[in-house]
Amino acid sequence: MSKQSVRGSRSSARDRADERESATAVRLEGVTHEYGSTGGRFRSGDERTVTALRDVALDVPTGSIVGLEGPSGSGKSTVLHAVAGLLVPTAGSVELRGTDIAALSDAERTRLRRRHVGIVFQRFHLLPSLSARANVALPLVQSGVPRAARRDRATTLLEAVGLGDRTTHLPSELSGGERQRVAIARALSTDPDVIVADEPTGELDTATGQDVLELLTDVGRERAVLVASHDEATLAVADRVVTLCDGRVDDVR
C-alpha cells in the first residue's frame, strides 16, 4: 500500500478554506423511493411497486465518513444511488452541496455527478479494455481536460494509491485489491466533494480490504464519504453508522 497520502491529490484551484470547513455536503430529507412507480408509458397503472426507502433523513458533513448498514434489501444501495444522482427519489429531497438533485434535468444530474461525486463499486467496474491509467482518467475525458493533463493527474493518483508501477496494466492483469484501488483513484480523479462506496471490500480478502479501508479513511479526511457495507471492519472506520431496516432509518450511532 502506498505511504503517499491521497489528500495531496486535491487540486490547488479548489483548495479553498470554505471547502474545507465542516459544512454539510449531503443532506437527505424525507426521502421515499418506490421501484416500479416511474415505469414506462406502456406499463399498466396498477403495476405493483416495491418501496425501497421510507422517509429517510440523513446528513453527511464534509470531512466525515458515514457508514450505512442493514440487511440485504434494507435500502443501503438505494441511498447511495440517490446521493450519486443515479436515481431520483419518488418523494423528498436529496441535496448535494446545497443543490437539490431532484430539481435537475438528467443532463444536469450527470454533470453534477461528474464534478462532485466519486463512486466506488463492490465489483470495481473498471473498463476491461483500458489501462489502469486510462480508467482513472476516464471521468476527466468528459470534463474536457487535455490529454497530457489527464495522464499527469491519473499517474499522480495511481502513485498515491500505491500503483505507480501498474499504470499501463489492464484490469485483468491486476489483483482484486489493486483493481479496487484503481477504482478509488478513478473516483478521486475529478476531485469530488463526495465519495459513495458500495461494499468496497466485499470482493476482497481481509488484509487487502484493510488496505482499501485505510485509503478510504485517508480520502475521508477532506471529503464526505458514504459507505454501505455488511462488514463490521468496514463500518469501524466510519465516524457515524446509520442502520437501515426495510427502507427506514432504524438507528444512528
Binding site: 479553498r16 436515481l87 443532463a107 464534478r115 463512486i119 483500458l130 476516464l138 475525458v141 468528459q142
Partner: protein, 427 residues
C-alpha cells in the same frame, strides 16, 4: 449549481473540442485494445464480415469495369491504345460503323521509330464470310494486324503464327506480295471445320471491288483454348491485306492503333501522332465507362446494393451483439459522468472504426480477388484480364462501407440507449 461560479473561467469551445477529441481518442484506444487483446474474436469476426462483403463488391465491380472496357475483340496486351474520339463523329446511326483512324500504317511506322516504343500496329476489324472447300460459308470477324515476330496478343489471339511484317503494304502502294495467312480462333475453326494448312476463300463487300475474284487464304494456326477461347468466331490476318479486301486501304484506315513499350514514351508518341484521338494507357481503365455499358452498370449497381445490404446487416447484428455484451461499460460511463450523447458517440465511433477497418481489409482482399479471378480466367477460359482494379475503388469501397455503417448504426445505438445504469452496476 452552487459552485459553478467557482470553476476557473474557461473558454467553452476549446473545452468542447478537447472533450470530443478525448471521447474519440478513448474510443479508438479502447477499440484497438479490444481488437488486439480483450475481445479479439468479436471484433475480428465483424471486421471479417465487412471485409468479405467489400471484397465481393470490389471483385464484381472490377469484372463490370472490365466488361465495360471492352469484350474479347479488344482483348490485347498492348501498353497504349489509340482509338477515335467518339464525340468527334457525326454519325447518328448506332452499331453501323464507328469512326476510324486515318493514315494509320504511315503513322504507326513513325511511332515505331520513337525511342521507348517496341512495336506499334493499326488494328482493323471487318466482317467477312469464309468458306472451306467442303463446307458452308461462315461469318467471321477478321482482325488485321502487323506482326513483328514477338509474342503478342491481339483480340485474344496470339500473333506469332503470322509471318512478321506486312509486305503487301509496300510503302502505301498496296501492291507487295500477299502472305495470305490466317490464324483462327477455336470457335471459328470449329464452325468452319478447318485446321492448320486448310485453304479458305474470303468474300466481303470490298472483295469484288478489289478485283481478281474471290481471294483465298491459308490457315497457319488455330489458337488453343487458353489463348483464343473467347467463344467469338474471329481470325487474325495481315493488316494491309484486310485493308485491300475491305477497301480501307484508301486513307489507310484502322479501328485502333496498339503500342507496346514504355508507357510514358508510348503515350507521348501516340499523342503526337493523333492529338485529337483518345489515348488510353493499359491499367488506366476509365471507371466512367461503367455508365456507358448497360450490363456492366447493372452488374455494378446490383453489387453495390447487395454489398450495402449484406454489409449493413452484418454490422448491425454483430455491433448490436457487441453493445449488448457491453452494457456494463456504458453504465460505468454514465456513472462517471458521460451524458447520453457521449455514450452514443462511443458506440457510433466504434461502429465506424469497425466498418472502415473492414473496408480497408476488404479492398486488399478484393484486389487479391481480382488477381485471382484473372489468373483463373487466364488459365481456363480467357486470355488477358477479365477484371480490372482501379484506384477509385478505394474511396468507393470505403464510402460504401460507411453508408452501410450509417444504415446499421441505429440498431447498436438503440441497444445502447436502452441500457439501465442501475441494473448493470448493481450486478
Amino acid at each position: 449549481m452552487s459552485d459553478e461560479a467557482a470553476d476557473p473561467p474557461v473558454d467553452a469551445e476549446p473545452r468542447r473540442r478537447t472533450r470530443w477529441r478525448g471521447v474519440i481518442g478513448l474510443t479508438l484506444s479502447r477499440w484497438w485494445r479490444r481488437a488486439t487483446r480483450t475481445t479479439r474474436g468479436r471484433i475480428t469476426s465483424t471486421v471479417a464480415a465487412v471485409a468479405l462483403t467489400i471484397a465481393f463488391l470490389v471483385v464484381v465491380t472490377g469484372v463490370a469495369l472490365a466488361l465495360a472496357d471492352g469484350g474479347m475483340a479488344t482483348a490485347d496486351d498492348a501498353d497504349v491504345r489509340i482509338t477515335p474520339e467518339e464525340s468527334g463523329t457525326l454519325s447518328s446511326v448506332d452499331g453501323v460503323e464507328g469512326p476510324r483512324l486515318g493514315a494509320t500504317n504511315e503513322r504507326a511506322a513513325a511511332i515505331r521509330s520513337r525511342d521507348g516504343v517496341e512495336h506499334a500496329s493499326p488494328v482493323l476489324v471487318e466482317t467477312a464470310r469464309l468458306e472451306s472447300t467442303d463446307g458452308d460459308p461462315r461469318t467471321v470477324r477478321l482482325i488485321g494486324f502487323v506482326p513483328d515476330g514477338e509474342s503478342r496478343t491481339v483480340a485474344g489471339l496470339p500473333t506469332t503464327a503470322l509471318e512478321p511484317g506486312d509486305p503487301h503494304y509496300a510503302n502505301g502502294s498496296y501492291d507487295g506480295p500477299r502472305n495470305r495467312e490466317l490464324v483462327l480462333s477455336p470457335t471459328a475453326a470449329e464452325r468452319l471445320d478447318a485446321t492448320a494448312g486448310d485453304e479458305l476463300s474470303v468474300s466481303m463487300g470490298g472483295a469484288e471491288r478489289a478485283g481478281g475474284g474471290t481471294p483465298s487464304v491459308t490457315v497457319t494456326a488455330v489458337a488453343d483454348g487458353g489463348a483464343g477461347g473467347s467463344g467469338a468466331p474471329i481470325a487474325l490476318v495481315h493488316l494491309s491485306e484486310l485493308q485491300s479486301f475491305s477497301g480501307a486501304e484508301t486513307g489507310e484506315l484502322a479501328d485502333r492503333l496498339l503500342l507496346w513499350g514504355e508507357a510514358d514514351a508510348a503515350r507521348s508518341a501516340a499523342t503526337d501522332a493523333y492529338p485529337a484521338a483518345a489515348v488510353e494507357v493499359a491499367g488506366g481503365t476509365d471507371p466512367s465507362t461503367l455508365f456507358e455499358d448497360g450490363l456492366a452498370f447493372a452488374t455494378s449497381v446490383i453489387a453495390l446494393l447487395v454489398g450495402v445490404t449484406v454489409c449493413a446487416s452484418f454490422v448491425a447484428t454483430t455491433m448490436g451483439m457487441t453493445v449488448d455484451e457491453d452494457r456494463r461499460t456504458l453504465a460505468v460511463l454514465e456513472s462517471v459522468g458521460f451524458p447520453t450523447r457521449s455514450r452514443l458517440a462511443v458506440v457510433a465511433v466504434s461502429t465506424g472504426i469497425t466498418t472502415v477497418v473492414g473496408s480497408i481489409v476488404g479492398i486488399g482482399l478484393g484486389a487479391a480477388g481480382i488477381v485471382a479471378v484473372n489468373a483463373v480466367a487466364g488459365a481456363t477460359v480467357a486470355p488477358g484480364t477479365v477484371a480490372h482494379f482501379h484506384p477509385v475503388f478505394v474511396p468507393y469501397a470505403i464510402g460504401v462501407a460507411l453508408v452501410a455503417g450509417l444504415v446499421a448504426v441505429p440498431y447498436p445505438l438503440a441497444v445502447a440507449a436502452r441500457t439501465a445504469v442501475l441494473e448493470e452496476v448493481a450486478r
